[in-house]
Amino acid sequence: MRPSYFINFMMGIYIFIFFAYLFGPLIIMSITAFNSAEFPSITPWECFSFRWFNEGKIAYDGQHLAGLLTDWRLHDGIISSLIIGAGVVTLSVPIGMAAAIVLTQVRSQLRDIFYSISIMPVLFPGVIIGISTVVLWDRLAGLGGEGFISDIGRNGIFLTILAQTCFISTYCFLIFVARLQRFDQTQEEAALDLGASQTQVFFKILVPYLSPAIASAAVIAFLFSFENYNTTVFSILSDQTLTTVIASKVRLGISPALSALALTIIALTIIAAATYEVLRRRAEKRYKDTQEKFVKEKAADNRINKNYKIGFKVPRGIVTILILVVFTIYGATQILKNDLYGQSCIDAADTEKKSKFYDQLNALDAIELSEEELSGGELGGNQDYGDIFGDPSLFQDFGGFD
């Protein structure tokens, strides 16, 4: 096939834009985590610093902006997220597995209904699952009087585990269904024929066969639980999870500490993905000479461009790395040249801002005085401050007062 170079070129540009859209915001956010300024930004660049990963800062106006290490609300949130994640995994994996196995046993007329009920929860908007769990358990807690039911019915972590299990079980269910489709029923029959009991068949044949699915279901369940916001924000009641902490922080104003948090999560994700890829390749190597080659040839056959020279090629790793290196060097030299790093730079910036702040405060005093005279002592609200400084986030709570 004769490639149209124009179309290939446009396609290349389109793919570039698409991936820039996916990655650009994340990359920029990651960079802002290293800027010492209170507002996450690249320009103006204040100082290169790790403060948002560590202690945060006491702002010139006396506010404490927590960094990752010092933010106790974040830590509490992470702990309850971990507890909830563990709870969801222990509930939803067995539920999903039971439902998937039973799906293979129900009569064909019932199978569609059973399947529909099983996948319904992921079609419900997350907020609805959260709300319905809360209203039900609030009622149960009210009926139960004082005691155990009342306690758990008003326990946010317990409710969140239940609410998340409701729909995360479906994801587990789907993973098990996919695995069970390839299960050879005769294995079970062979085991029975050799004298195993039904229970033994389950534990010796079925569970080992499903173990890869159990592992991936557990991982998926945990991740979905850890990341969930829509359901959790209702069911968590007065507690906090990582996501609700993040949400409340974002709502109050955006802080580079969040960039630092996001960058940490991105780094963990990439490490996990790389580890997974390495493990996968190692496993693949064992098959390589036999099956894998055949599959790859098949995959290659099923593509338009059999001749790979034709067509747009995504730049090889080396190009990407080179570009990254160039940018890093450029950025680093800029930072070094302009003395934009280290404690001295931060101190200087703070001093400057502080003096500016006091100037403005003095000016404000003057205005307030005059206002006081005019309006009989009524002070303007926070909004007025915001207007005066032109930076509404200045007075907002970034990480809570310690």
């Binding site: 956010m29 690249i42 597995m97 609805i128 039900l136």
Partner: protein, 309 residues
């Protein structure tokens, strides 16, 4: 009952202990986690909003007031209809549809490229690159966009810095940030069903069409898209449902003076402490979702199992 429900006697087939585990797990899930909470919420949505202590008392009775509030507004309002809430509702659905269509248009070329044109190792690399951003919390992804679109954000600073603009564009105020964020949020859920559907198309089909004289456009229209239809339906359904029910992205990116429908529910629930009304609005959202899924299934003749895989 055994023979009616199952292909083989249930207890005999699984052994007693395992059978009990199956039954307990499934009943716990279906009944206690899925069905009862939904029905209780439905019940609550038809009741007056009373404090817990007054439940069961004379003030706790069945009423349509929450639904009528959604349509006609409060009894004291002067407008004939509740334009505010209806407006939020209409806008949420309309924008969700646009977001779904935008996702489809953005994803189709990429999905086709990865499935049929890129060589296998490039395709793998691209797929991994697609997945990575989506392991990052939706809130944090929205936050990344917020940094870009804030009034003093990276884009505005950049544009004013190099002198293209005197004043920043109010991306957040005009909800440009929100729309971008909603498209960003669930794009992967469009990409994968599409990719899987196109991948399964035999390349000979495309070549045969070409050999018979078909143009590229027509080949896509007559061969690739009809083949990918289940994937398209699945992707559109998932994206629409998630967008309509989105809360995290609007919380971070919507402008202070506009609301997304789930935010409205959140307000009734947490800020105004009117759980009944919150439930009623939730039921409305649920009905929209169910109608959308059923319509998609009816129009495109796909089964529910094909939508969610």
């Amino acid at each position: 009952m055994n023979n009616f429900l199952f292909t083989q006697p249930f207890f005999k087939k699984n052994g007693k202990a395992v059978a009990i585990y199956f039954l307990v797990a499934i009943i716990f899930w279906f009944v206690f986690l899925v069905i009862i909470p939904q029905f209780y919420m439905l019940d609550l949505s038809f009741r007056t909003n009373v404090p817990p202590l007054a439940r069961g008392g004379p003030e706790d009775y069945y009423t349509f007031e929450h639904y009528s509030h959604f349509i006609f507004g409060s009894k004291t309002a002067t407008d004939a209809f509740n334009f505010v809430d209806l407006g939020v509702f209409g806008r949420t659905i309309f924008v969700s549809m646009l977001v779904t269509i935008a996702n489809l248009l953005f994803c189709y070329p990429i999905a086709f490229y990865i499935a049929k044109i890129a060589n296998p190792s490039t395709a793998r690399l691209l797929i991994v690159s697609l997945i990575i951003p989506f392991w990052i919390n939706e809130l944090l992804r929205s936050f990344a966009l917020r940094i870009l679109f804030a009034n003093e954000g990276v884009i505005n600073n950049f544009l004013t810095g190099i002198g293209i603009l005197d004043q920043g564009i109010l991306f957040i105020t005009y909800d440009i940030g929100l729309y971008t964020g909603l498209i960003y949020a669930y794009i992967l859920l469009m990409m994968f069903p599409l990719y899987n559907a196109i991948e399964s198309l035999d390349i000979n089909q495309i070549e045969a069409a070409k050999d018979l004289g078909s143009s590229s456009f027509r080949t896509h229209w007559r061969i690739v898209i009809p083949h990918a239809q289940p994937g398209i339906v699945s992707g559109c359904t998932m994206v629409f449902m998630l967008t309509v029910g989105a809360l995290a992205t609007p919380v971070v990116l919507s402008s202070p003076n506009t609301l997304w429908f789930p935010q409205l529910i959140y307000q009734w629930f947490n800020m105004n402490d009117n759980w009944s009304r919150g439930s009623a609005y939730s039921i409305i959202l649920l009905i929209v979702s169910v109608i959308f899924v059923l319509t998609m299934m009816r129009i495109f003749k796909v089964r529910i199992g094909e939508i969610i895989k």
